[in-house]
């Protein structure tokens, strides 16, 4: 029975990471209708930048974290403003492909600059564990879950009460009317990318701490895509459930059915969702059927 709870714990922790990355997917999709295939790479870039600040510039963890947040906000903002804005109105294919192109570019540049060897990620959370019953909980896992829920709750508050949050919801619901009401849609797009990058960085740092820092970790971030689809691509609220479910499914499948199940389970869930209920659990848009 302990094994089961152990799997549940690691599933929840990984699921929290997926939840944060999926939050990024959702934000960008809801605001501008773009699926950012480079979200995993944004996660990776954030983690590597933080690592570089800590290891090369010898900053403490907390200053490095703050700087990484600032960097990722700027990076996401710049990406949208400089590149994605020109793609407004282009076909879906072009927009998907440009984000895939960026994904490829970032993935390889990070590998070139930082090398492809795996590195451990230094955080103040290393080395301390809790033990409840027979189950070991890493401090990182506990904090990953707490932080993810906290960020999620923060976003719910932000979207409900903050002026900018309301503006983003308005823009997501009806762009033209939002424009008429005086909302600067371009700023909303850029802001959604900035926030997605920042949330991705946090996810990346936790992911690196839960396992290690390596240049293919963006592919692990891509597993958040099943979480976003399960939740419904335009449902920011559903991402909580989507991320946790995928994390749990992956962990339990891997524990009970072995390695292949761990790798394939998220993708099989994705395909199941797409074939049966493409709009996901909480999504709202119509998906075409032939």
């Amino acid at each position: 029975m302990n094994d089961f709870w152990q799997l549940v714990v690691s599933g929840l922790a990984n699921g929290s990471v997926y939840m944060l990355v999926a939050l990024g997917f959702s934000l960008i999709y809801k605001a501008s209708g773009v699926l950012n295939f480079a979200q995993g790479e944004l996660m990776m870039v954030g983690a590597y930048v933080c690592f570089w600040l800590i290891s090369s510039l010898n900053l403490g963890f907390w200053p490095a974290l703050v700087l990484t947040m600032v960097f990722s906000l700027t990076f996401g903002y710049a990406l949208e403003t400089v590149f994605l804005r020109r793609m407004i109105g282009e076909s879906t294919f072009s927009v998907i492909m440009i984000t895939l192109g960026f994904a490829s570019l970032f993935r390889s540049l990070v590998g070139v600059v930082f090398g492809t060897v795996e590195k451990g990620f230094p955080t103040p959370l290393d080395g301390l564990d809790y033990r409840i019953g027979g189950v070991i909980l890493w401090q990182t896992q506990v904090w990953a879950i707490i932080v993810a829920f906290g960020i999620f709750a923060g976003f719910l508050v932000f979207f409900r009460y903050a002026k900018i949050g309301l503006a983003m919801r308005a823009a997501a619901e009806d762009q033209d009317v939002a424009r008429l009401m005086g909302i600067n849609i371009n700023q909303i797009f850029a802001l959604s990318w900035a926030i997605a990058a920042m949330v991705g960085s946090i996810a990346g740092i936790f992911s690196a701490d839960l396992s290690f820092l390596y240049s293919q970790m963006s592919l692990a971030g891509l597993k958040a895509l099943p979480a976003a689809i399960l939740a419904g691509l335009d449902s920011v609220e559903g991402v909580l459930l989507g991320g946790l479910v995928i994390g749990l499914v992956e962990s339990l499948a891997g524990g009970y059915f072995g390695g292949p199940a761990h790798e394939l389970a998220p993708w099989l869930v994705l395909l199941l969702v797409l074939m049966v209920k493409p709009r996901g659990l909480f999504g709202s848009s119509e998906i075409k059927r032939v």
Partner: protein, 349 residues
Amino acid sequence: MSRSGNYHTNYGQEISIFRTPGQKAWLALLVAGLVAFPFLAGNYYIYVVNFALISVIGALGLNLLTGFTGQISLGQAAFLAVGAYATALLSSHFHWPFLVTIFLAALVTMVIGLVIGAPSLRLEGLYLAIATMALYFIVAYIISHWNSLTGGPYGIKVPPLQIMGLKFDNNFKLYFLLLSFVAGSVYFVANLARSRTGRAFVAIRDRDIAAEAMGIDVARYKILAFAVSSFLAGIAGGLYAYLVGVIAPDHFTFEVSIQYIAMIIAGGLGSIEGAILGAFFISLLPEVLRFVTGSLAESFPVFSGNFLLLREAAYGLVIVVFLLLEPAGLYGIWRNLRNSWETFPYKYR
């Protein structure tokens, strides 16, 4: 003086691909150039061009699927992998002749294509891209972990290529073999594009609801598009297996899917000439990159070790740059140049 008016005197003239004497002259020149190339170029360059020829076949298939029919597929690498592995298994276990293994491997790939294409009946655009990506990951995982069948991470060795006793053991002979395969594929795809099926494909891309309303069976033609596209990719994969001699899962990573999409974007979506141009451009890009990083390696040591990663970065950069600056690709650039030349000194006809 450019072509004007319609001077065909029989139906045969009207439906031929090369209509004017000028076009036929250029065609003859192209054929002469292609035949002369291996006599003039060094062995290494023939080797590089052989890979380019194989990717032309794959790019033609993907262009048919994405450029003509509008079905976004990120699973091209899965098709290539299935074609390559099927060929490798059939030739190394059963020792069947080359043409048989290639054909059967392409059939197997077509079946996988139907599986990967099945979501296209329910999904569109973004969701189809995601579904094909998920199916790619599943296929790739199966291939790299089904050790008893596929040799796992170590791959399979492929016997050398021979047709009826004639051994194709150097790049020179392989070039002509590949050239004939490419010529056949281009001929096939060009005629398909001009036929009723091709028109149905384009109609589905442009407005599938209207196509259905006009009586085009959209489901059937979508399946057909995936089938033909994966058949071609299967041939490309099989030829790749014979060319390389040993195939392993790392030859078919997700980056390969992105590479093929870079080919059709850089070449120009929806045109056969574009697919050919794009395939050559992306295949020859690493050579240019090798040259550039080689000469820069002294001043910037970061360039010296990371060739594979830089190549991947280059593919990403090509996609981004072409989509931002010239979405019609190299063929679009060529068409604009040709039009400016033909209409000079006017801006348009």
